[in-house]
Amino acid sequence: MSERAANRIFDVFNILLITFVVILCLMPFIHIIAISLSSSRPIMAGLVSFFPREISFEAYTQVFSDMSMIRSLGFTIFLTILATALSMAMTIAVAYSLSKRDLRGRKWFMLIIVVTMFFSGGLIPDYILVRNLHLLDTVWALVLPGLISPFYMIILISFLNGIPKSLEEAAEIDGTTHLGTLFRIILPLSLPALATLSLFYAVGRWNGFQDALMYINNTDLYPLQLKLYQMIQNNQVSDLMQQEGLGMNKLMPESLKAASVIFTTLPILIVYPFLQRYFISGMMVGAVKG
């Protein structure tokens, strides 16, 4: 067999295999979307796989007319923006100062921060702290404990170190203050890194679940994830009970569950393609450093 033919066969197989993997990766989403758009008769009969049957927007109408769902969406958007903005401001502040290699005491500041990457008090001391600070059932319980990620801080420091020092020195000779340099020179040059880290913080906050589970009891302050979890959880329990023949609770319609899942995922899927190129380059910067 000629070399070219062998190459071609390899390419074709590779493309087919990757196509298969990509489809496998998408299948659960497609199934959920199909369920969310079908009416309950074909769903109950187990007829819906990857195409909606007897198309109905009933489930979405119901999700969007559920005021508690809309309020939760509003709160989650507010929470995500607040947490991301504060996290970024803090991360920029600490990373900019610590990117100055000859800053006196730099080593000590680094040490204080890096230690927390290796050892933490744990879940319960965290909880007691939040409780003692009277942050339970406030938005701050979901913002403050995770304010700065040391890992993202290191990514930003290594990015800042890649900016030519001559630019800063020129500004300093002109008598610009540190803050002036930061705002006028450093930040505009760091936009890709800032976009990446913002995305990471925002996705982390949007998807965050455990802290809300622990710190929030007031249903007005339920982020979407916690709300969705409770909806699904109540349903799973009744699914298990039915299976054991214990109870015949009225199950929430499958399509409504599916529509709520889509509702919670959609904001991420909308932003994701636009920011994708940033976060890959951001990951690389982090990877080089270690």
Binding site: I15, V22, H31, I124, I148
Partner: protein
């Protein structure tokens, strides 16, 4: 330069550090102060300082608790199986993606494969129920259509284990390719060209150039994974798990939550957390040392 002069010139840098340092002291070192309740009979009225010291009593209680050992075993078991199943997947996928010649298709495939990484475990849990549910799950519907019995993917602990691992591969394989792809891009192109001249096949090139070219990355990632053996995220086992499979799905993180927050055995849960943190620290330091050593050697 005298300190006062230095400070006058650079005070802005220190003021930028002020709030972050306060943050770390309160929210990271504060809980470390709270760790002492692992050695106390804690109650909320007397607080951290006021509760009575009991020495190692709480730890004795921990080490006599069967559920603790079960959670420890499950943590190690799930992590180890996860490593075996989920570690090779991104490596293979990255090599396949790297071999793709059609740029738009490669970009599209990457975009899609990264998506599960950005989906929360709550959402994945919802999807999992729809796909693997015993009553009305997608797969069991298909099986029923073929006249086969339903498989209890989520309510039998052995099937659950398989489901848990497969979901892990689905969620992490795509994102895991990023570091390998970066390493592959870093391989000297001349090596591939020289091999081409020698008439090496694509498989030979993968075997003798691509894989050796990224072996440091593979080893480093393996070491990092081994270093995290005792720490396990909360969301995945908590959400994918359920009462019926608690025997396997209860891990240290969920155990601490249930014992501490749900049952209010604060001191016990803190002690378990401290045990986990200390063992985790040893693992982490060892793996850090090993990967540093590895990096030094690969430079030589």
């Amino acid at each position: 330069m005298r300190n006062s002069v230095y400070l006058r010139r650079h005070w802005q840098l220190y003021s930028l550090l002020l709030l972050p340092v306060i943050y770390f002291i309160i929210f990271k070192y504060g809980p470390m102060y709270g760790v002492q309740i692992a050695f106390k009979d804690f109650n909320f009225f007397q607080g951290i300082g006021g509760s009575k010291w009991v020495g190692l009593d709480v730890f004795r209680e921990v080490f006599q608790n069967n559920n603790f050992f079960k959670a420890l075993r499950n943590t190690l078991m799930l992590n180890l199986l996860d490593l075996i199943v989920s570690f090779p997947a991104p490596l293979i996928l990255a090599i396949m993606l790297y071999e793709l010649r059609i740029t738009w298709f490669k970009k599209l495939a990457q975009t899609i494969l990264y998506v599960p990484h950005f989906i929360s475990w709550v959402i994945i849990g919802g999807i999992v129920l729809q796909v693997f549910g015993t009553q009305s799950g997608f797969i069991n519907n298909l099986l029923a259509g073929m006249g086969l019995d339903a498989i209890p993917f989520l309510s039998d602990k052995n099937y659950w284990l398989v489901t848990y691992l497969l979901i892990g591969v689905w969620q992490s394989a795509g994102w895991g390719t990023i570091l390998y792809l970066a390493a592959l891009t870093g391989i000297n192109k001349e090596l591939f060209e020289a091999a081409e001249v020698d008439g090496a096949s694509r498989f030979k090139k993968i075997l003798h150039i691509s894989l050796p070219g990224i072996k440091t990355t593979i080893a480093t990632l393996l070491i990092i994974n081994l270093g995290n053996m005792i720490s396990i995220g909360f969301d995945r086992p908590f959400i994918i798990g359920n009462v019926a499979v608690r025997d396997y799905s209860e891990v240290l993180s969920t155990f601490v939550y249930r014992v501490g927050i749900e049952s209010g055995q604060i001191s016990l849960a803190t002690a378990v957390g401290l045990f986990q943190a200390l063992v985790g620290l040893i693992f982490l330091l060892a793996s850090n040392y090993a990967s540093k050593k590895l990096a030094d050697e690969s430079i030589l």
